[in-house]
C-alpha cells in the first residue's frame, strides 16, 4: 500500500480551511457565523516585548526599601511617561514608564512591564461560514468553490480579482506584462524568472501573484514583497502544469482568496468561493496510489507533468542515473509512458 499526498485542482469542491494564529490568542468568531474576507477572526500578542525598570537603582535606594516608593501595581495600564515611582525630598526623584504597556510584576524594587504592541490580527481571507472553532488558535472556515493547492508561499494573504499575466502556458511573466491596468489584480503567470518583475509588481501594486514555477534564487525578493505569492508546482524554469493553468485562467474575473502559507505551515491554497446546491465531499489529505490514480509528477525529467498510473512496479526499479526506488508506470497526457519513483508523485484530484 502506497500513500501519497493529495493535491486539489478542482473547479468546484467543498473547501474547509483552518485559519490559525501563530501563537495562542483570542478567537473572535463562533460556529455558524458568516465571515467576510477582511473580517478579523482571531488575534494574539504574537511578539511580546518586556521592559524591566530598576526602581531601586534609579532612586538610589536599597532594593529592600524600593517598593515603598513604587506607585503602580500588577495589572495597571501605563502610558509612556507615567510615573512609576517617586521619592520625595529636597531633591525629589521620579521614575517614569519608558513605554506604553501593562505592569506585570513588581518585586524587589523592579517593575516588569509588557510593552503595548499592535496585536497580530488573523483575517478570514476566505468569505465563508465558520464550521468549527479551534480554541485559542482560530477557526475552520467552510465554503464551496474552486480550489487549487500550491506548494510554496511567501507567508502573505489577500482577496481579490483574478487576472492573467499571459495567455500562453509556456510564456514567462515579464515586466511588459505589468501594465497599470493590472494594478490591484491577483495575476496568474506560468513561470517567473526575473527579480525585476517582483519589483514592478510591488510598485503597481498587485494584489497577488500565482505562478507555476519560480526560480528559487528569487525567494529572498519574494519574501519581501507586500503581496502574496503562491508557487503551484515548484522551483525552476518550467511552465505551470496544464490542469492548474487551465482552471485558473478560465476563472479570470472571479474573486479569489490567496493564502500563501510558507512550507512549514502547510500548503498554500487559492480558493474562489462559488455557490453550489450540491454537496461535495472534501477529498482526503492523502490517499493510496493504485492503477488508474491520476497523478502529478514533482521531479525532473517529468516535473509538472500529469498522467495516470498504469502499473505499480514490484520491488525496486532502476533509473538511468543508477538510482533504485519503488516506482510506477505513468501514462502522461502526451501519450508517453514514463517510469517514475512513487516518492515523486502527488495524487491529483480534479472533481
Amino acid at each position: 500500500m502506497v500513500f501519497r499526498p493529495v493535491v486539489r485542482t478542482m473547479p468546484i469542491a467543498e473547501v474547509r480551511e483552518k485559519r490559525l494564529l501563530p501563537v495562542p490568542g483570542k478567537v473572535l468568531v463562533s460556529v455558524g457565523q458568516t465571515v467576510k474576507a477582511s473580517d478579523v477572526i482571531a488575534e494574539a500578542s504574537a511578539d511580546p516585548r518586556y521592559r524591566l525598570v530598576d526602581v531601586a537603582r534609579a532612586l538610589g535606594v536599597p532594593r529592600s526599601k524600593a517598593n515603598e516608593f513604587i506607585l503602580c501595581q500588577p495589572g495597571d495600564l501605563l502610558r509612556a511617561g507615567d510615573t512609576l515611582a517617586r521619592k520625595q525630598g529636597f531633591l525629589s526623584r521620579i521614575v517614569r514608564s519608558p513605554v506604553d504597556g501593562k505592569v506585570i510584576l513588581v518585586e524587589e524594587g523592579q517593575i516588569l512591564i509588557e510593552e503595548y504592541r499592535e496585536p497580530y490580527m488573523l483575517r478570514a481571507v476566505i468569505p465563508a461560514k465558520v464550521s468549527a472553532v479551534i480554541p485559542d488558535l482560530g477557526a475552520e472556515l467552510a465554503t464551496t468553490g474552486m480550489v487549487v493547492d500550491g506548494i510554496w508561499g511567501n507567508g502573505r494573504y489577500n482577496y481579490g480579482m483574478l487576472g492573467a499575466a499571459t495567455q500562453e502556458r509556456d510564456a514567462e511573466i515579464t515586466t511588459k506584462d505589468l501594465s497599470v491596468e493590472k494594478r490591484g489584480l491577483i495575476l496568474i503567470a506560468s513561470r517567473l524568472t526575473e527579480a525585476k518583475v517582483l519589483e514592478i509588481a510591488d510598485s503597481l501594486p498587485l494584489r497577488g501573484l500565482i505562478v507555476g514555477y519560480m526560480r528559487a534564487k528569487l525567494v529572498p525578493e519574494a519574501l519581501k514583497v507586500s503581496f502574496p505569492i503562491v508557487v503551484i508546482n515548484g522551483f525552476g524554469n518550467r511552465p505551470m502544469d496544464s490542469h492548474s493553468f487551465k482552471l485558473l485562467t478560465t476563472s479570470v474575473g472571479q474573486r479569489v482568496a490567496m493564502i500563501a502559507r510558507k512550507p512549514h505551515r502547510g500548503r498554500p491554497v487559492i480558493v474562489a468561493p462559488l455557490p453550489s446546491a450540491e454537496h461535495h465531499e472534501p477529498p482526503p489529505d492523502f490517499d493510496e496510489v493504485t492503477v488508474g490514480t491520476k497523478v502529478r509528477i514533482t521531479r525532473a525529467p517529468y516535473a509538472g507533468a500529469i498522467g495516470q498510473v498504469t502499473a505499480i512496479q514490484p520491488g525496486m526499479s532502476q533509473f538511468p542515473s543508477g538510482v533504485k526506488a519503488p516506482a510506477a508506470k505513468i501514462r502522461l497526457e502526451n501519450g508517453e509512458l514514463a517510469l517514475v519513483p512513487l516518492a515523486n508523485l502527488e495524487i491529483l484530484v480534479q472533481s
Binding site: M1, F3, P5, V6, V23, P24, D47, P48, R49, Y50, R51, L52, I104, L105, L112, E114, I151, W152, R215, A216, K217, V219, G234, F235, G236, N237, P263, G266, R267, D285, F286, T298, R299, A300, P301, A303, F319, P320, S321, G322, V323, K324, A325, V340, P341, A343, N344
Partner: protein
C-alpha cells in the same frame, strides 16, 4: 562457544526517519541472532498525514509479508510479547530522527567555557540552538528575557559556575530564565536543564519548580579544565523523549503496547552508542568515526576506546534544511564538486525543490550529481565543525581529520548510491580522511537500532556486530601532504597477494590509484610515502599494512589534504570526472 539463547527474545526495531520509516525484525536462527527481514515506508509524522503510525504500520506489514509472521493485531496494534514463533515479537526498539529539531536556548557564564559546554551538550540530540546567553553578552536582564521569549524554546540548557565557584552570575541568568518562563502562558513554557554550579542546584529548583519543569544534572564544567557531558546527556535524553512524545503522541501508544519491553532513543544517540561500542571492540590508537547523512540532520559520531560522543547537525541534511545550506556555505562550494557544468540557478532550484519534496528521488544524471555535490559539502561543513571536539593529534597539521579505523557511513545518499565508487567519492571528498582507513557501509541502516538495542538486548547487539558483515566499501590509503605540484610521485607500494604474487605501483600527486583486489582477497602492502607525505607512520616514513579487497579495490588517494582542486572550472570538472573514472575503472 555460542551463548545459550534458548529463551532468546525476538526484537522489532522501528526507525522513524524524517523521510522513511523502517521496520527491522531480529530473531534467533540456529543459536544466533540474525536480521530476518526489513520493511521501508515513507514517514507519515508530518503533513499531510500527521500520524506516524501509518508509516510504521506499512513498514511492519512489509516485514509480515516477507516472513509470514503476524506482528500486527486486527486493530493494527503491535503484538507484544510473542505468542508463538509465528505471532508477535518480544521486544521493541524505537529510534526517531523525524520531527522538528528541539528549539533550545543555551545559557552559560563564560562564552568559551560553560556556554561552549552547553552548546556541545545540545548538539548530542536533534536540537537547534535559537539563542545563546552569557554574562559578557552585553544584554540587560530585560534583553535576556526578550531574547528567550522570542526564541520560542522547547528547552533552556543552563550551565555555568564551577562547583563552589561563581554564584552571582548564575543567579543573574536564573532571574532572566525564570522571568521568561513566568511570562509565557503555561502551555508554552519551556523545560529547563540546569547543569551548572552544583551548590546552586537547590536554589535553581526552588526558583523554577513552581513555574516550569526543571531538571538537574551534574555540572558540565565542575572545574575549568574538566568537561563532563555524560550525566547531563542522560537527563537531556529524558527531556528529548518527553518533548518528542508530546509532539508525536501516537508513539506513546506504540511504546505502551510493548510496555516494559521497549526502549526509545533519538536515532543519533543509537548511532553514537554503536560507534562507542565498536571503538571498544577495535581498541588501538585510532578512533572509530561514523557519519549518518540523513534528510533532516547529519550526525558525526566518534570514539576512542569506548569513549566519545555524537554531534548532531540539525541544520544540515538533504531534505528540509537544504534551503538553509546557504547560511553555511556558498553555491560555488557546491558547484566545485560537479563533474559537469550545471548552472548555479539550477542548483539553487534543486535545493529548494528537495526542501519541498524531501522524500523524492533524483532520477536524472544531473540531479544525482547535484545531490552528491550537496552531500560532499554537507559532510565538509559538518566534519570541519567537529574538529574542535577531537583530541589533539600531535603529528597532524591543523584542519586535518585524524586517522580513524574504520569509518562507518550511513544514510540513503551513501548506502543507496547508484554505484559504490559514487558513494566512496562522496565520502572521500566530504571527509578527506588521512592515513590508512576502511570505509564501511551501513547498507541496511542497522547501526543506530543496534546501538539502541544494546539497552535491552546486549547479546543481540554483540552477536549482530560479530556475525553481520557490514560491506566494506574500500580500504583507502591517503599519503597526507599539502600539495604544491601535481604529477609528482607521492607513494610507492609493493603489493604482495596471498598467492605470493607481487607487483609494484606508484601513485602521483593529484591522482587516485586503485589496487585491484576483490572482496575476500587479502594482500600485504609495503608502502613508501615520498616527498614527506604521511600515511600515518610520520612524515616520509613507510610501513607495511595488511588489507582486504572490496568491490572497488584498495584506493590510494594522492590528491593532497586539503584536496587540491583546479581553479579553472573546466579543468576542475575534468579532474573530478577523472577521479571518479579512476575509482570506477576496477569496480
Amino acid at each position: 562457544m555460542a551463548t545459550s539463547l534458548i529463551d532468546a527474545d525476538s526484537l522489532l526495531a522501528l526507525d522513524v526517519g524524517s523521510a522513511n520509516t523502517r521496520a527491522l525484525l531480529f530473531d534467533v536462527v540456529e543459536g544466533r541472532y540474525h536480521l530476518i527481514a526489513a520493511g521501508t515506508a515513507p514517514t507519515t509524522s508530518g503533513r499531510p498525514y500527521d500520524d506516524v503510525r501509518l508509516g510504521i504500520q506499512e513498514a511492519i506489514t512489509q516485514v509480515q509479508n516477507l516472513t509470514g509472521r503476524v506482528l500486527l493485531a486486527e486493530d493494527q496494534s503491535l503484538i507484544v510479547p510473542s505468542r508463538s514463533e509465528a505471532v508477535g515479537v518480544d521486544q521493541l526498539v524505537l529510534t526517531v530522527s523525524a520531527g522538528g529539531a528541539i528549539k533550545t536556548v543555551c545559557v552559560g557564564v563564560l562564552e568559551d567555557v560553560s556556554l561552549q559546554s552547553a552548546r556541545r551538550l545540545a548538539s548530542t540530540i536533534y536540537s537547534s540552538v535559537e539563542a545563546e546567553l552569557h554574562t559578557s553578552d552585553k544584554r540587560s536582564t530585560e534583553g535576556r528575557i526578550n531574547t528567550i521569549i522570542q526564541a520560542h524554546p522547547d528547552l533552556v540548557i543552563m550551565a555555568g559556575g564551577l562547583n563552589n565557584g561563581a554564584s552571582r552570575s548564575v543567579e543573574q541568568m536564573l532571574e532572566a530564565v525564570g522571568l521568561a518562563a513566568y511570562l509565557l502562558p503555561p502551555e508554552r513554557r519551556f523545560e529547563v536543564l540546569y547543569a551548572g554550579n552544583e551548590r546552586l542546584a537547590r536554589e535553581v529548583e526552588e526558583t523554577l519548580s513552581g513555574i516550569t519543569p526543571v531538571h538537574l544534572a551534574h555540572n558540565l564544567r565542575p572545574t575549568l579544565e574538566t568537561e563532563q557531558l555524560e550525566p547531563a546527556e542522560e537527563k537531556l535524553l529524558e527531556i528529548y523523549r518527553s518533548i518528542r512524545l508530546r509532539q508525536m503522541p501516537q508513539l506513546n501508544a506504540i511504546l505502551s503496547q510493548a510496555a516494559g519491553k521497549s526502549v526509545f532513543y533519538p536515532t543519533a544517540h543509537g548511532f553514537g552508542r554503536i560507534v562507542r561500542i565498536l571503538s571498544k571492540i577495535y581498541g588501538g590508537p585510532k578512533g572509530v568515526l561514523g557519519v549518518d547523512l540523513g534528510a533532516a540532520a547529519t550526525t558525526i559520531a566518534f570514539a576512542w576506546e569506548g569513549s566519545g560522543r555524537q554531534k548532531v547537525f540539525s541544520n544540515l541534511g538533504l531534505g528540509a534544511p537544504l534551503a538553509k545550506l546557504y547560511s553555511h556555505t556558498h553555491i560555488e562550494k557546491i558547484e566545485r564538486w560537479l563533474p559537469k557544468e550545471i548552472p548555479p540557478d539550477e542548483i539553487i532550484d534543486y535545493l529548494y525543490n528537495k526542501m519541498l519534496y524531501p522524500e523524492s528521488v533524483p532520477v536524472t544524471e544531473e540531479e544525482v550529481l547535484v545531490e552528491q555535490a550537496l552531500a560532499r559539502e554537507i559532510l565538509q561543513v559538518a566534519i570541519k565543525r567537529t574538529y574542535e571536539d577531537f583530541p589533539k593529534q600531535k603529528h597532524l597539521a591543523k584542519g586535518l581529520l585524524p586517522a580513524f579505523e574504520p569509518i562507518l557511513a550511513s544514510g540513503g545518499i551513501l548506502t543507496k548510491a547508484a554505484s559504490p565508487p559514487q558513494a566512496l567519492m562522496t565520502l572521500l571528498d566530504g571527509l578527506q580522511p588521512t592515513g590508512v582507513t576502511t570505509f564501511v557501509l551501513d547498507t541496511n541502516q542497522l547501526l543506530a537500532p543496534l546501538g539502541a538495542a544494546a539497552d535491552i538486548n546486549p547479546i543481540l547487539t554483540v552477536q549482530m556486530l560479530s556475525t553481520y558483515h557490514l560491506p566494506v566499501l574500500a580500504t583507502v590509503i591517503t599519503p597526507t601532504k599539502k600539495l604544491k605540484r601535481l604529477g609528482v610521485p607521492l607513494l610507492r607500494a609493493e603489493v604482495e597477494l596471498a598467492t605470493g604474487a607481487k607487483k609494484q605501483i606508484e601513485v602521483k600527486s593529484g591522482t587516485i590509484g586503485v589496487i585491484g583486489l576483490h572482496g575476500g582477497q587479502k594482500a600485504r602492502l609495503r608502502l613508501q610515502p615520498l616527498h614527506g607525505a604521511d600515511i600515518g607512520f610520520g612524515a616520509g616514513r613507510g610501513g607495511t599494512v595488511n588489507v582486504s579487497g572490496s568491490k572497488i579495490g584498495v584506493v590510494i588517494d594522492a590528491r593532497g589534504r586539503p584536496i587540491m582542486l583546479h581553479t579553472d572550472p573546466e579543468k576542475r570538472r575534468e579532474q573530478i570526472s577523472k577521479w571518479l573514472a579512476s575509482l570506477s575503472r576496477w569496480a
